[in-house]
């Protein structure tokens, strides 16, 4: 009879080690997706939690040294996807996973949902450029949908207050992440529209992970933006973050501060513009005055006024015209005065006749006088005229000396003689 083979007896340490080796060799490194529960973070920074689903759970340890690439803040209830080695913690005999990487579960699923919704809304035409409304140039009532706490609202109020001191701003406070955030954002956009006083709405939040920004990727928010009666500016996260809200919005601002800058120009720019326009108005008028003045001066010095030929040319027609009308007038006047003129002519000829006759008498008288004075008439009567050698008439004995030549004019002919003596 055989004694039954002596069963191999393991120590607890040995068997757990064996199990550990088996787990590590057979399963090794894996990806596991599940919900975080029993989350604790030790003072050392190590994280301990359980991953669970509807039917099972497994312990997990996420050591501080592995957390360097961690982008999310794990919390109870969060769906995560982890990569790590399945092993056995010998001290407790618990099977657990040593986590090397952790990311939000469905980061891929989220991306998929994002693309799906984007394609759907795009097909509906919600992103089309024709739907984009221009922002009002001077919005005075600005609605802001965001968290009442945090940097985003502070930044926006700062920028707006700096740019335009007298604005009316209505903040619709909402949760911008987590369960129900999307519904709150959508409702707030609707509520601001109901006020009927808003000129424009800014909807946004500061930066965060894709999960943090997720509310702005939800259809309900996209629909609310599309239905808004006033233009909506989206301002979600950082410059590199794009959400569905950005595609539907009338304008996408890269950040909340940028949205505040885009929504209204600085007040002084408006004021400067008005001053500039006013100057342009005045300058245009001045220019016209100057032009008119120059034209006046030019006209005064124009060749028309200086160049006689042009003057003549220019006025020739006028003169001719005047001349014609003058002639006509004269003709008429002549006709009227014709008889008077005739009478005048008669009188004139009578007058001339009498003047002529009296003149004739005067001429006869003068003729007689002239005849009486004619020296020849004296010579005829026996007188003579004696002249010296110099031709002067001799009237005095002292004019001549003995031996001087004399010429005496007679009525007929002349006698030459020499002086033999002269005495009184």
């Amino acid at each position: 009879m055989n004694t039954p083979a002596k069963p191999e007896v393991f120590s607890v340490t040995a068997i757990t080690r064996r199990i550990r080796f088996l787990l590590e060799e057979e399963i090794g490194s894996v990806w596991i997706e599940g919900e975080v529960s029993n989350f604790t973070q030790a003072g050392s920074g190590h994280i301990y939690f359980s991953l669970k689903d509807e039917n099972a759970q497994i312990k997990a340890a996420f050591f501080r040294g592995s957390q360097t690439g961690l982008k999310i803040q794990p919390a109870n209830g969060m769906q995560v996807r982890v990569q790590g080695e399945v092993t056995l913690y010998e001290k407790t005999g618990n099977c657990q996973i040593i986590v090397r990487r952790m990311e939000a579960a469905g980061a891929g699923a989220l991306q998929e949902a994002f693309e799906k919704l984007k394609a759907k809304l795009e097909a509906e035409g919600l992103f089309s450029p024709e739907r984009k409304r221009p922002l009002p140039v001077l919005p005075r009532h600005i609605g802001i949908v965001t968290s009442p706490t945090g940097a985003a609202i502070r930044d926006m109020l700062n920028v707006l207050g700096r740019r335009f001191p007298n604005l009316h701003i209505v903040i619709a406070p909402v949760r911008v992440q987590g369960e129900g955030a999307a519904a709150e954002i959508a409702a707030a956009i609707g509520d601001l529209n109901k006020l009927e006083t808003m000129d424009v709405i800014i909807a946004g939040r500061g930066g965060g992970s894709i999960e943090d920004l997720w509310a702005f990727n939800e259809e309900v928010v996209a629909r609310a933006i599309a239905a808004s009666g006033v233009p909506v500016i989206s301002a979600v996260g950082h410059e590199t973050d794009f959400t569905i809200a950005d595609f539907v919005a009338d304008l996408r601002a890269p950040t909340p501060s940028a949205a505040a800058e885009l929504v209204i120009d600085a007040k002084e720019n408006f004021e400067n513009l008005l001053v500039q326009r006013q100057r342009q108005l005045a300058r245009s008028l001045e220019t016209l005055f100057l032009k008119l003045k120059q034209r006046l001066v030019r006209a005064e010095h124009s060749y028309v006024f200086r160049e006689p030929r042009s003057l003549v040319k220019n006025y020739a027609l006028r003169v001719e015209h005047l001349d014609q009308s003058l002639r006509q007038r004269l003709l008429r006047a002549a006709q009227i005065r014709h008889q008077q003129t005739d009478a005048l002519n008669m009188r004139l000829s009578h007058l001339a006749q009498s003047v002529f006759q009296s003149n004739r008498q005067r001429v006869r008288q003068m003729d007689a006088q002239l005849r009486a004075l004619n020296p020849h008439a004296v010579l005829d009567r026996g007188y003579s005229v004696t002249r010296g050698a110099d031709g002067k008439v001799i009237r005095d004995f002292r004019q001549v000396k003995p031996g001087a030549a004399l010429a005496t004019q007679l009525a007929r002919g002349r006698v030459d003689s020499t002086v033999t003596g002269a005495q009184p």
């Binding site: 109020l157 009316h168 009927e196 000129d199 008005l274 342009q280």
Partner: protein, 81 residues
């Protein structure tokens, strides 16, 4: 869906555009003195109107709240995180 707001203020923008038009007319074409004077006056009025518009709203920061199903606005004070 996208309905125009009832109390839209076309005033400022329209006035600014008209002002722009008047300025370019005055600078560009040959207008008579009478036409220029008329435009100058109109432009001056538009400038005044726009300036008034820039200053007409008082600074007010409010918060939208629901009170018994009704929307109300109350003064906003920066909340701490």
């Amino acid at each position: 869906m996208k309905t125009e707001k009832k109390n839209e203020e076309p005033g400022f923008e329209a006035a600014l555009k008209l002002l722009e038009k008047i300025v370019s007319e005055m600078e560009g074409s040959e207008l008579s003195l009478d036409e220029m004077m008329a435009r100058f006056e109109e432009g001056g009025k538009l400038v005044q109107y726009c300036s008034a518009r820039l200053n007409e709203v008082e600074k007010k920061i409010e918060k939208l709240v629901q009170k018994g199903g009704k929307l109300e606005t109350v003064p906003f004070e920066a909340e701490k995180e």
